[in-house]
Symmetry: C2
Subunit: 360 residues, 2 copies
Amino acid sequence: MQQKLGKWSLRFTEAPFILESSSVVGTKEADGPLGGLFDIVGKDDRFGQNTWEKAESSMQRDALTMALGKAHLDASDMDYVFAGDLLGQSMATTFGVENFRIPWFGVYGACSTCGESLSLAAAFVAAGYARHAVAVTSSHFGSAEKQFRFPNQYANQRPVSATWTVTGSAAFIVGSGAGGNETQTGCDNEWTGGDNADSISKKVQIEGITTGVVVDYGIKDAMNMGAAMAPAACELIVNHLSDFGRKASYYDRIVTGDLGSVGQKILIDLCRQKGVDISKNHEDCGMKMFDATNQNTGSGGSGCACSATVLSAYYLPKLRSGELKRILFVPTGALLSPVSFNEGESVPGIAHGVVLEAVM
Amino acid sequence: MQQKLGKWSLRFTEAPFILESSSVVGTKEADGPLGGLFDIVGKDDRFGQNTWEKAESSMQRDALTMALGKAHLDASDMDYVFAGDLLGQSMATTFGVENFRIPWFGVYGACSTCGESLSLAAAFVAAGYARHAVAVTSSHFGSAEKQFRFPNQYANQRPVSATWTVTGSAAFIVGSGAGGNETQTGCDNEWTGGDNADSISKKVQIEGITTGVVVDYGIKDAMNMGAAMAPAACELIVNHLSDFGRKASYYDRIVTGDLGSVGQKILIDLCRQKGVDISKNHEDCGMKMFDATNQNTGSGGSGCACSATVLSAYYLPKLRSGELKRILFVPTGALLSPVSFNEGESVPGIAHGVVLEAVM
């Protein structure tokens, strides 16, 4: 059966499932509105390491280990890991995944990495290339600020459009339907996703994916990533709805990664210009993560871990419990490099879409 | 049919083809032993740009444009581009691919990127997800030295184990068998691959792939990348032969990416310890690229572009002409980050294997 759908999308004939997932976050994230939902919270943001980069790798190890534990699977059961992060040469992932000895396809999609890695993991499972594939990503406020902006010790002022890089990591084990049934049965008791734990019954299927292109609106403000990413998110959503022949209202939620409150306004306006109204069902993981007023996080949370941890801890339980039926998950990435930025280049955006559906 | 083979490999039921490819190099590469084989040579290494990073993006654009031209295809015929480079946040690729508006999966595999991107492109075509997918990568001596080692102006001394980052880019259009036939017929006249141009008749099939894990031997010498990568290459080759049930002698050539002469010795020794003799059929793209003695390039060429341009300009024509029948192509990557390196971390390696076979 034809799986390619339109120009930008795939609809899987044998749609795979997210069998299990896990989330690890730092202290500030734990203090936010979703604080009680995450699986692991570090007692401080160093996670027992002496550098931010090693702390980030440590979170990846914890996330992957926890997800394997929930699924009652070993690392050797994973056929592939699709993983990446924000740092130069994906260094958090190199040292995060190395001890698991899982064949690794390194990915780079800036903060859209969760969407890219889930897309590839789903594609590999749906093609029969893998029985299980795991998608992992991470970000860390300390390592990201140090790399992209200013030394933390400068205590530089942040405009309201600035976002706050989430310290965290998440891992998602994707498997085929058959594997899903077995695994789900074996691990229901271990799910600790807050209030919904008792009512978990549905499985979360990845029905299809829509893959993004680089979208460059010429934004040159590294403190306004929402504006850099909103055009890419808009284009992804419009392309997705066109490919699948759907209205925005088909989805209970259209969930972007880390546009923040500033980026959300731009996205809703841009979509409206294209004749698509997402004002009623759009949510943004960056706006869910922090209490912007009391936590002084500006426009919202950002980073690869933002969409990844919020998906794992907040949205997946709502799909499993039946509270939500269908989500278009759209992690967004600002293709910001400190070198190209300092050379006067713009900050293009990209977004990757994943259709998540709750099924019995 | 089962496509997963052993623990680390896939053998495609519907094996895709490399329909066309292209290579772009700088001046030093053009002065080397393979100089006459490359498609495009820059008149200087800036490629009309004012920074090394932009020059690298420019080479990607040239490579992709040339490959599309050879195949008589438009960018809109490409369902996906799998592309990445060595630079932080894959910046050369961001600006290299953006104007083509092809759905982009960003990849990171250090200098093994050509193997990773070809693997994913082949997997997507073989699964029926894409009619055409293109794999692109690049590296640039200027941007790499600046990022990883010392400012070029230091004119620092280089030990004999140091390699020389290749300035170049290559693009590979992967398609299904049917597409291949049509396309090949239409473009034979345009192939400019040196002496073999008249006798081209065979198609190059990607029979399967073997995917690498992070292998860390604790190497901490950023001037000896061959030693960092050789263990990963050894493990990949041994895993591959085990998965496919083959002897090393099955292949006319086992071709690594950029181990250089220092890394080659280590690889051959390590393989011998595992009971695998590759001494007779091993070649390394890094040793092909330059005349080490006269060009003062130390152990050999390196960088994502090393294996990619040598595959496109040197090995693919030999497969098409029938001079070679089967190659195990093993681009090798040193997972070197200047940040983690300066924090005292080791330089792990990775390698990705692609089986290339000439068929009628």
